[in-house]
């Protein structure tokens, strides 16, 4: 009970600094310190935002973006954790996959667009692939690192009990490396969302990223920022959700 109210307090207080920044922004705009066309005042952005809702334009693109995110992120997590654990526990797999992973990682996905367009077309499959190709790496690396840094005693204990490989992974390794895996998934959350937007800009037919690009092209910066606010709210919401889930899964993390 007290833990929940504590969480609530934390959430409320958490709004102080963003609100402070917004106030500073608004004042700077009102005083004419910034070009109002390229960086509109928050009050005007909020007005655009309200228009978006009342015109009913908000929900279609928002849902599309969320859907793409869920698909891409889930796939990235599954693949990242699976490969990360596999590479950390099996030397041959590590040797086999490590060069491929490390060669693919530094290549920006935008550079691979010609190849993706060539083989996968200009649609949903390409978009999901772009998201997965980017989001999988932080998860993979953190998982790998997490498993590798495990106390060898844990693994020895498992062996003493003659636990099978699979059971060892599921009941010993995964729970023990969960904090690191979750850290990687947290990074991938933000990264994944950015890439969803990028993918929509490159090959989408609608969605938040698509709208942002369109509005940018016609210099409707105010409306563009309204969509960015929506995006930030989405990102914030996803992060909070992640935080709740994390707290449930790893409640034993040291408290300061």
């Amino acid at each position: 009970m007290s833990q929940r109210s504590e969480t609530l307090n934390v959430n409320l207080w958490g709004f102080v600094s963003p609100v402070a920044v917004l106030c500073i922004w608004e004042t700077a705009g009102a005083l004419g310190w910034i070009n109002p066309i390229l960086l509109p005042r928050p009050s005007q952005i909020v007005l655009s935002l309200i228009e978006l809702v009342t015109d009913g334009v908000l929900f279609g693109p928002l849902l599309r973006t969320i859907a793409l995110f869920i698909v891409g992120y889930s796939l990235a997590s599954l693949i990242g954790i699976a490969i990360g654990v596999a590479m950390a526990t099996n030397r041959i797999l590590y040797g086999l996959l490590e060069p491929l992973v490390e060669c693919l990682r530094p290549v920006p996905k935008s550079a691979l667009v010609p190849v993706l367009f060539l083989f996968l077309g200009i649609g949903k499959v390409t978009m999901i692939t772009i998201v997965v190709l980017a989001a999988v790496f932080p998860i993979l690396i953190s998982t790998f690192q997490g498993v590798k840094s495990l106390d060898p005693v844990l693994l020895e204990t498992g062996r003493t009990f003659q636990v099978s490989r699979l059971r060892a992974i599921v009941s010993i390794i995964l729970p023990a490396s969960l904090p690191m895996i979750l850290a990687g998934m947290r990074t991938a959350l933000g990264l994944g969302l950015v890439l969803v937007i990028l993918a929509e800009m490159l090959a989408g037919e609608d969605g938040i990223g698509f709208r942002i690009l369109d509005l940018q092209r016609s210099f409707q910066i105010r409306d563009m920022f309204a969509w960015i606010f929506v995006l930030v709210a989405l990102g914030g919401g996803l992060m909070m959700l992640f935080g709740f889930v994390e707290q449930r899964l790893v409640p034993w993390r040291g408290k300061t």
Partner: protein
């Protein structure tokens, strides 16, 4: 005595004249220009190469960019003095209150024979008009720009409803593949991509929207801001003068190998590709009536909410 005085006077005059001639050249004033490395801006590089700008005391610092994302924002933000932009973007920026000014024309359609911006389809697709494209997809490099606008106008002019056509954004280099792979049904290309694509027997041209709809259309321009014009009016005038000289040389020398090497220098396109197309004539002036037609088209396609006062946007320098 008189002879000595005369010769001394003559010497003095000669010295004065001489000192004027060898007076240290004033520091060249730098002008930052944002360009897209395409054929259209060749006259600028011709002018730089031939020294037209140096002669009037300015030095052009070109910054290439491949997209529209940096041109006008960089201009408004003060990173550039002048930027290459298309007419639609300039009007859109004006609508939003960004004080841009057009100072010179860069691209203009003169002749269908030199038009290298066709809409291309697969030869076996049977698409011949905008009506045939309903329910299908047309690729443009960017939505809401001049290419998108004229693609829509063409669809409408040939009996189709632009709202029923899906406009996909595809980068120029990927359009040919997308067509061949049946990912898109039609594509609006520019040189040199159109030239390369049309070499394939599977692809064919269905229209030249600019030439078919509005011969003489003003497509690309040099844009600056009211602030730059207020701060550096002389520099802008000199730029336009130097540019026009470049245009004149360019028009006279369109098959000159020197020109090809200049273009290769900034665009990295191989001269062999450049030789296969007849370079289009470059314009010296803006055509207000043409721009007005484009503006009306923008209003019709819901890019502009109401007509803009073109006299406030197109500077007299450009006319």
């Amino acid at each position: 005595m008189r002879r000595i005085l005369l010769s001394m006077g003559g010497l003095l005059v000669a010295l004065l004249a001489f000192s004027h001639a060898v007076a240290p050249a004033a520091e060249l004033q730098k002008v930052r220009v944002s360009i897209i490395p395409i054929n259209d801006v060749a006259p600028l590089f011709v002018a730089i190469h031939n020294g037209y700008f140096k002669d009037v005391g300015i030095e052009i610092d070109t910054t290439p960019t491949t997209g529209g994302a940096t041109g006008i924002p960089g201009l408004v933000g003060g990173s550039f003095d002048i930027s290459y932009g298309n007419v639609v973007s300039a009007l859109l920026a004006s609508q939003q209150g960004l004080n841009v000014r057009v100072i010179a024309q860069v691209t203009k359609r003169y002749d269908r024979k030199t038009d290298t911006t066709p809409i291309i389809v697969r030869a076996d697709s049977g698409i011949k008009s905008g009506k045939d494209l309903e329910g299908k997809s047309l690729a443009v490099n960017t939505r809401n720009n001049v290419i998108w606008l004229y693609a829509r106008a063409w669809v409408k002019a040939t009996g189709g409803d632009p709202e029923k056509v899906t406009f996909k954004e595809v980068p120029f280099p990927q359009m040919e593949d997308a067509l061949l792979q049946k990912r898109i049904d039609a594509a609006f290309l520019v040189a040199p991509f159109s030239i390369v694509a049309l070499k394939k027997p599977e692809l064919t041209t269905v229209a030249y929207p600019y030439s078919d709809l509005q011969m003489g259309v003003n497509v690309g321009q040099w844009i600056t801001t009211t602030k730059v014009m207020a701060d550096k009016p002389e520099v802008i005038k000199k730029f336009v003068a130097g540019w026009r000289k470049g245009v004149e040389w360019y028009n006279e020398n369109r098959t000159n190998p020197v020109l090809y090497s200049i273009i290769t220098g900034y665009s990295k396109t191989d001269a062999s590709v450049l030789k296969t197309v007849a370079l289009e004539k470059a314009p010296l002036k803006c055509d207000l009536p043409q721009i007005k037609t484009t503006m009306d088209l923008m209003i019709e396609n819901k890019l502009l909410t109401k007509p803009l006062d073109l006299s406030k946007i197109i500077d007299p320098l450009a006319l």
